[in-house]
């Protein structure tokens, strides 16, 4: 008995019981669909976060005061640091680390900004002119902080669009004086609108010269220095250079932490990879349940067709012919369910971001391949037992079965 013939027999059996076959397939369809959809959502989150992180400037190196032993991960600037990172450190890096295009000193914190009777709690970032280039954030009207402002601790402020709108509405903000934590600052510029990134509203920020910022927060330390290298290949050498320069200035102690953007991305990718795997695993369970559904229906089908099995055996069918017939039936159910599930899953993954823009998805070839292989395997695994049961029927008993 050749394969094509067996396939035809199995296919006829499936078609003769359309509703039942459809419902059985539904279990696999939902399982495969869930795997593809959830993995796509996980992947989408990963792609989105990677894009957002690199959108804030590329090849960045972040230097924070204090030493932590790990590489990568997030380390909030901590108080009680052994030795501070100073504005002069940043200047030294800018002058002497020739592999770096920029070394931008940063202080930040929250504070209250007031104009007239309107006030708003917002994030205050103290920095230097190069910030614009490093972080890909540019001034829209007026001007950004200049080196002169930094040198002279000028009381000037550049507003994020959100802050500007909240305090000034449609009015012109340039040249106006605002109160920033009880000090008078003059508005010199408004930033270009950027929107939200990773849950943070980049427009709800004001910028002041780093030296003024230090005064505002009453500190002579920096919270971090953002350095950038022109090429990703230079990262390792740039790190060495930074360490060399800073350690000479810090009594040969490595009392600062260097994080690369790559390491942060890696950490994020690991976290989201685990998340995706967990989602896929949960969906995989539903695929497993679908497989059990196939086994259930195949067992019913074998019982129902006991007499047919007896007839076929009396007419010369060997055990393996019967086995093949029921195996192919199970595999056709799971395979067809798999394909339909893939189509629906991919379809939904492509449609969802159109309607729900906070849920980016990314359909990956490996998730499709995995879901299909898994569903085919489910067919084989859950088909074997019923098919074996069918093949080993005693022909006499089977013929007598009513």
């Amino acid at each position: 008995m050749n394969f094509l013939e067996t396939f035809r027999v199995s296919f006829e059996a499936i078609l003769s019981n359309k509703v039942r076959s459809g419902l059985t397939m539904l279990g696999v369809i939902i399982g495969v669909m869930a795997v593809i959809l959830l993995v796509s959502i996980g992947e989408g989150a990963r792609v989105y976060i990677t894009k957002e992180l690199t959108g804030l400037g590329t090849n960045l190196l972040i230097i924070q005061p204090g030493k932590t032993s790990t590489s990568g991960g997030f380390h909030p600037p901590s108080a009680g640091t052994v030795r501070k990172l100073t504005y002069d450190d940043a200047q030294a890096l800018k002058r002497r680390a020739w592999l770096l295009t920029d070394a931008v000193p940063l202080v930040f914190g929250t504070g209250r900004i007031k104009f007239g009777n309107l006030g708003r709690d917002t994030m205050i970032i103290g920095t230097t002119p190069e910030f614009q280039r490093v972080r890909n954030l540019y001034v829209d009207t007026g001007s950004f902080i200049s080196q002169g402002d930094v040198d002279s601790k000028a009381k000037i402020v550049v507003l994020g669009t959100k802050v500007k709108e909240e305090l000034f509405g449609d009015q012109n903000a340039l040249g106006k004086v605002v109160m920033l934590s009880d000090a008078r600052y003059r508005v010199v510029g408004v930033m270009r609108k950027k929107g939200t990134s990773l849950g943070m509203d980049i427009d709800d920020v004001v910028y002041v010269p780093v030296t003024s910022g230090q005064e505002l927060f009453d500190t002579d330390s920096l919270f971090e220095i953002i350095a950038s290298t022109p090429r990703a290949e230079d990262t390792d050498r740039a790190i060495a250079q930074i360490k060399d320069i800073l350690m000479k200035r810090h009594a040969h102690k490595e009392d600062f932490t260097l994080q690369t953007q790559g390491a942060m991305l890696d950490t994020m990718n690991t976290i989201l990879g685990v998340l995706t795997a967990v989602l896929g695993g949960i969906a995989g369970i539903s695929l497993l349940v679908g497989g059990i559904g196939i086994m259930n229906i195949m067992l019913v089908s074998v019982r129902e067709r006991t007499r047919e099995i007896g007839i076929r055996k009396a007419l010369g069918a060997r055990n393996k012919d019967i086995m093949a017939q029921f195996m192919i039936e199970a595999m056709t159910l799971s395979g067809a369910g798999g394909i339909i599930g893939i189509l629906i899953g991919v379809g939904l993954a492509l449609i969802i971001p159109v309607f729900i823009d906070v849920l980016p998805t990314s359909v990956s070839a490996w998730s499709i391949l995995m879901a299909f292989t898994f569903s085919a395997a489910v067919g084989v695994f859950f088909g074997v037992y019923p098919a074996r049961k069918a093949a080993l029927q005693d022909p006499i008993q089977a013929l007598r079965y009513e």
Binding site: M1, K313, A314, G316, D321, P395, I396, L399
Partner: protein
């Protein structure tokens, strides 16, 4: 053609062994037309199953065309059933989802005959049993007599030397039963060896040899014609 020597069949029912056939010896020559008779529980069906290679004897020797059958594997038995033996059952046992033509083709599927050849061999047989116009009908659309004729065509499609019929007229009215008997005797005249298990003395009277079974033993074996 067939030789059974001291065939015994016992079934184990819980703690007790039940002997269904004991020391049955029988020889069947090519071209015979035999009726096996006997009351229920006499072992007719078991004897039939053993002759039909659906079952193995507990002890004894069964030779089919000089080949020892009792020791063959399941798959080898399947192949003997496929090529050497045609079955006709009391309840017809057609596959309900298939047309008459497809049903007749089934044994050829398991012989590995290609689809086109299967048709070429099945159609003349359906014509021979007078069903050329109904070959695309499903069993449920056929009368009992017509279904049994399909079953006979199916039994013959691989040109087996032996035809086994288990109460072939048992579920039919007398007119259809008569038609079936005519077909069977006609086939016997063409040289096919036929063994019929029956309750009906009328059917037995049409056979050339009658074998009586009682309590698992042959109690009578006479040649009538």
């Amino acid at each position: 053609m067939i030789e059974l020597a001291d065939i015994t069949k016992t079934y184990r029912m819980g703690e007790v062994d039940i002997t269904v056939l004991s020391d049955v010896s029988l020889k069947v020559r090519q071209g015979e037309l035999i009726a096996i008779m006997g009351p229920s529980g006499s072992g007719k069906s078991t004897l039939m199953n053993i002759i039909g290679c659906l079952d193995r004897p507990t002890s004894g020797v069964y030779r089919f065309e000089q080949r020892e059958i009792s020791t063959l594997s399941d798959d080898e038995l399947a192949s003997v059933r496929n090529v050497k033996i045609g079955f006709v059952f009391q309840t017809f046992n057609l596959l309900p989802r298939f047309s008459a033509l497809k049903n007749v083709e089934v044994p050829l599927i398991y012989s590995g005959v290609p689809a086109r050849v299967r048709r070429e061999r099945a159609i003349p047989l359906l014509e021979q049993v007078g069903l050329s116009e109904r070959m695309h009908h499903k069993p449920t659309e056929l009368s009992g007599g017509q279904q049994q004729r399909v079953a006979i065509a199916r039994a013959l499609v691989n040109h087996p030397p032996l035809l086994l019929a288990d109460e072939p007229t048992g579920n039919l009215d007398s007119r259809s039963g008569e038609e079936i008997l005519k077909i069977l005797t006609g086939l016997n005249n063409q040289g096919v060896t036929i063994i019929i298990v029956t309750h009906d003395p009328g059917v037995a009277a049409r056979c050339k040899r009658n074998i009586h079974l009682k309590d698992g033993q042959i109690v009578g074996d006479q040649v009538t014609a």
